[in-house]
């Protein structure tokens, strides 16, 4: 029978540092998926996995053994990513470039009819992905994470609120603001892609 996470946590807390390896082996890949989705950068995501586990280890005494370890770890990862994105935004504020409204000319360049053959649509899809990534970088860290959790991970408003320490209306509003900003950037592409 597999040893549960709670048992491993208790073992680490009793002084067996090596037991933490089991938790790293079990959860590092899923935490990487989370941090990658939120940062869109492999190197940042890998570093955030390290930091998440380091923070979890230091806070392990506060973990309630009846809780779900992966949920607890997920929240640490999200909040660590939020700190990281906020710091990154602060640091790059001086050189931050505001992306203007989408250029209609640019939109026309990739305009395709709805019955375009496969390869063309793939090009359009790649364009769209690149534009989505660019537009996501215009969101505030909270908007970006709340949107990723709702849209990409299908998390509920309550989960988003609990993870980001927001009340329900603030969580909903972060998602709305994210969508509003994305619309301003992407709508022209979405209409061409249809």
């Amino acid at each position: 029978m597999e040893v549960t996470d709670a048992v491993v946590v208790a073992q680490v807390l009793s002084g067996d540092k090596e037991a933490f390896r089991l938790l790293v082996n079990r959860h590092s890949r899923s935490i990487f998926h989370v941090t990658y989705r939120m940062t869109g950068n492999q190197q940042d995501a890998e570093e955030l996995v390290q930091e998440t586990f380091l923070r979890a280890y230091k806070a392990l005494a506060r973990f309630e053994l009846r809780s779900n370890f992966s949920t607890w770890l997920y929240r640490i990862a999200v909040n660590r990513t939020l700190d990281f994105l906020s710091m990154k935004k602060m640091q790059s504020k001086d050189t931050y470039q505001i992306v203007d409204e989408p250029d209609p000319e640019e939109g026309r360049q990739i305009q395709l009819s709805s019955d375009s053959p496969g390869p063309d649509r793939m090009v359009l899809s790649a364009e769209m992905k690149s534009k989505v990534a660019q537009s996501m970088s215009l969101l505030t860290p909270v908007e970006r994470i709340a949107f990723t959790m709702r849209h990409m991970e299908g998390r509920s408003i309550d989960e988003i609120g609990e993870t980001l320490k927001l009340n329900t209306s603030a969580a909903k509003n972060s998602i709305f603001r994210a969508v509003k900003k994305l619309r301003q950037q992407l709508e022209v592409y979405a209409s061409h892609a249809q």
């Binding site: 680490v12 009793s14 002084g15 540092k17 933490f20 390896r21 790293v24 082996n25 590092s28 890949r29 990487f32 998926h33 990658y36 989705r37 492999q42 890998e46 996995v49 390290q50 586990f53 380091l54 280890y57 230091k58 392990l60 939020l82 700190d83 906020s86 710091m87 935004k89 602060m90 504020k93 992905k129 989505v132 505030t140 909270v142 709340a146 990723t148 709702r150 849209h151 990409m152 408003i157 320490k165 927001l166 009340n167 209306s169 603030a170 969580a171 909903k172 972060s174 998602i175 709305f176 603001r177 969508v179 509003k180 994305l182 619309r183 992407l186 709508e187 979405a190 892609a193 249809q194």
Partner: protein, 263 residues
Amino acid sequence: MKHLGEEQIVLHYYGDAEDNAAVAQHISECPACRREFERVQAMLRQIEPIEVPEPFAGFEEKTWLKLRDQLPEKRSWLGGWLRSPKQWALAGSMVALLFMAFVAGRYWPKQPTQNPSPLVAANSPSPNPNPPQQQIVLVAVGNHLERSEMLLVEIMNSDGKAPLNFSAEQERARDLLDANHLYRVSAQQAGDPKIAHLLDQLGRVLAEVANSPEKMSTRDLQDIRGTIESEGLLFKVRVVGSDVNSRVRRSEQSPAANVTQRL
């Protein structure tokens, strides 16, 4: 017929609108709102989940190897104390120091000194002068707390009659929130848990303000005010901000003064 707002339409797409059934009913009856919903739907459907690349082979093992050296030892604190003669010696020294401090405090002539805030100045004076970069960060924290205090005061003193337009305050809260994260992390790294804790509390309120709806309801405002009041946040921000500023001033007036500014 009153049309749906953009927020209702977006939230309806995710099934998160206050009254989804009524919104759905309206969309089925109102061509303008239906068109708007279809536009939102088309745009959001284009945003596919980000494809996550698989990390390199042996990712788990390499993560562990890098992590292992950074992990501090975890011991039961009682076991640690009992096993380590050094800790016993340290405990003895601490007791002796406490006793000496008590005696000194009891018989030392009293001087009219300004007591610093317990939140900031629990750090005892140190003979090390203040590094310039720490001084700069401290000045920035002082400004940050001052700006935050002004925002909190405005929130506490607004008339509270709906509909409330807090868009300007929200914009300021967003700016402050970014800086707050940075200062909190700096305080944590500098080993100043008291300022870090205050900034953590402040950050939660700023996040709540920044992410509340543009047209705030009286209930939303009451929630935010309740959080500010229950944590005594305005008072703490004032006290700590004032202490930080007076320490900066003292340090500027007398560079040789042996005042340690953590951060």
